[in-house]
């Protein structure tokens, strides 16, 4: 599903964040990406989403380069992703409305046609609202509902486009602990229902272990090689209660510390 080979990326006038980075994620896998702030985990997500372009190397999603966002990649951000002037229903139905807006208009630009599908119906919108438990707030505006309901709205909106890749950037960081666990469980369930490939970026060790079948550990930038932790026991909504879960959390904590140490030793100011 995602193929990064020799990928190099830097923001203008800044040291590179990825240098000759190679990483592969197969279709249907559940990935978590973890690392300290500034390590480039959100950048990696934006690159996959087609919102940033690599300076060198190759990045393929479903076998195609991503010069612009593709309609079958869903993106869920920590906050501010919903249209404040649209109700919950209108926000979820955005894909449908845009699909109709584009119907009959010719495609412009390069790369695969990014426009949302025109065949999504209002019944599908209602079905996702019900599945995510937000049917009762369908006529409310984002400012009128809770943070958890807002993220449920964002998830419903992304799943309505029937993505084969779902990218989540710190999706539950601003929620309280119980709501967060609730939505993490929901994510596991929805993943099993839809089989969508997921990449969840997080700075939270427990979230990474709960959601990631495979966990990509990033250290200080620039990242050159992919450190991956296998987390085979993932997938059960009750995983949190298992000793294996806590062992994995401890292992990941160690790896994160090691990634930090390793980079420090390599950086030129380590001797100062």
């Amino acid at each position: 599903m995602i193929d990064a080979a020799n990928l190099t990326f830097a923001y203008p006038d800044q040291p590179p964040i990825f240098e000759h980075f190679t990483w592969h994620a197969a279709a249907g896998e559940a990935w978590a990406v973890i690392g300290p702030s500034g390590c480039g985990k959100s950048t990696l997500l934006y690159l996959i989403a087609g919102l940033r372009q690599p300076q060198a190397g190759r990045l393929l999603v479903a076998g195609q380069p991503v010069p612009r966002p593709r309609a079958s990649t869903g993106l869920i951000l920590q906050d501010y992703g919903l249209l404040p002037w649209a109700t919950v229903w209108e926000n979820v139905a955005l894909v449908m409305r845009m699909g109709r807006f584009y119907r009959g208009k010719p495609s412009a630009g390069v790369g695969p046609r990014p426009y949302p599908r025109a065949d999504i119906t209002a019944e599908q919108v209602d079905a996702w609202l019900t599945r995510l438990g937000i049917a009762t707030v369908r006529d409310k505006y984002p400012s009128q509902i809770s943070g958890g309901q807002r993220q449920r709205t964002a998830i419903a909106r992304s799943l309505l486009q029937q993505p084969n890749l779902l990218l989540m950037d710190e999706p539950f960081s601003s929620l309280d602990a119980l709501t967060r666990e609730d939505l993490q469980r929901l994510t596991v369930e929805l993943r099993q229902e839809t089989g969508v490939t997921t990449v969840v970026v997080t700075h939270n060790i427990e979230e990474a272990v709960f959601l990631g079948r495979r966990i990509l550990v990033l250290g200080q930038a620039p990242t050159t090689q992919a450190r991956v932790i296998e987390n085979a026991a993932v997938g059960s909504p009750n995983y949190r209660g298992h000793p294996a879960y806590w062992q994995k959390c401890a292992e990941l904590r160690q790896q994160l510390a090691a990634a930090g140490e390793d980079k420090k030793a390599r950086s030129p100011d380590a001797t100062a």
Binding site: Y46, A49, G50, L51, R68, P69, R70, A71, T73, G74, L75, I76, L77, Q78, D79, Y80, G81, L82, L83, P84, W85, A86, T87, L94, V95, R97, M98, G99, F101, Y102, K105, A108, G109, P114, Y115, P116, K140, Y141, S143, Q144, A154, R157, S158, Q161, L167
Partner: protein, 246 residues
């Protein structure tokens, strides 16, 4: 409820007016009944025509200023380079009382409709420009990313993000500057013209000491302001209901 409160407010104003008229007891302040009479009598005799002329001038200015200032504000708000280039100019021009340019505008555009529409236009233009620009620059990049990730191209972004984000801002700017627009119109119409409510009030009534007619003109101008205010307010509630929820 809201309607009843408005009616009560109007009633209170009329009662106060009547009490003042009795107290002053002078032809300079006729009572509401006399003015109402003059108002009805004068509508077919020119007042209605002047009202339409003034209304046309304000509405034309509003349309031109929204159509130019909203896209300009959107561009400035979304393209930092453009904003850096133009913000010093806007910063300097914005607080200048544009009415002082009236003599110059009259020299260049003559005493017809164009000069009146233009003076109101430059006042509204900067009000709308600044509010829309600030609204557009406050649009979170995360929001744009999300909508783009759903497959939005430039046209869909405009239709589903930029338009709904800036239209209410333009209306808010309009609503708060309609009073100024009409005040300026009154001033611009009060000399060197033969039509409009300003002309009717100053030249046709005040100049002839026709006090009830003068007050009828004042009422007509107030009605024009109120009417436009209500229209913009209603549009705002209709087009941006999310701004009015608890």
């Amino acid at each position: 409820m809201r309607r009843r409160e408005l009616l009560l407010a109007i009633l209170a104003l009329i009662v106060t007016w009547q009490l003042l008229a009795w107290a002053v007891h002078s032809p300079v302040l006729p009572g509401p009944w006399a003015v109402f009479h003059a108002f009805v009598r004068e509508i077919p005799r020119g007042l209605g025509w002047h009202f339409l002329v003034s209304g046309w001038r304000v509405i034309a200015s509003i349309v031109v200023s929204v159509l130019t200032a909203a896209p300009a504000g959107l561009l400035l708000g979304q393209i930092p380079l453009l904003n850096r280039l133009f913000s010093p100019i806007v910063y300097i021009v914005y607080p200048i009382p544009k009415i002082v340019f009236l003599p110059i505008i009259l020299l260049f555009l003559g005493i017809g409709n164009t000069s009146k529409v233009f003076i109101i236009f430059i006042i509204l233009f900067f009000q709308i420009l600044v509010v829309v620009r600030d609204q557009a620059s406050a649009l979170r990049p995360e929001l744009i990313y999300s909508v783009r990730s759903l497959g939005a191209g430039r046209r869909a972004l405009f239709r589903f993000v930029y338009l709904p984000a800036t239209l209410p801002a333009a209306l808010t700017a309009l609503r708060i500057s309609i009073g100024t627009a009409i005040a300026v119109l009154f001033f611009a119409e009060s000399f060197a013209t033969t039509s409009g409510l300003g002309y009717y009030i100053i030249v046709e009534s005040w100049g002839r000491l026709a006090y009830p007619e003068m007050y009828a003109g004042v009422i007509a101008m107030s009605l024009l302001g109120l009417l436009l205010y209500f229209v913009v307010d209603g549009l705002e509630r209709r087009l941006a209901p999310w701004m009015f929820v608890q």
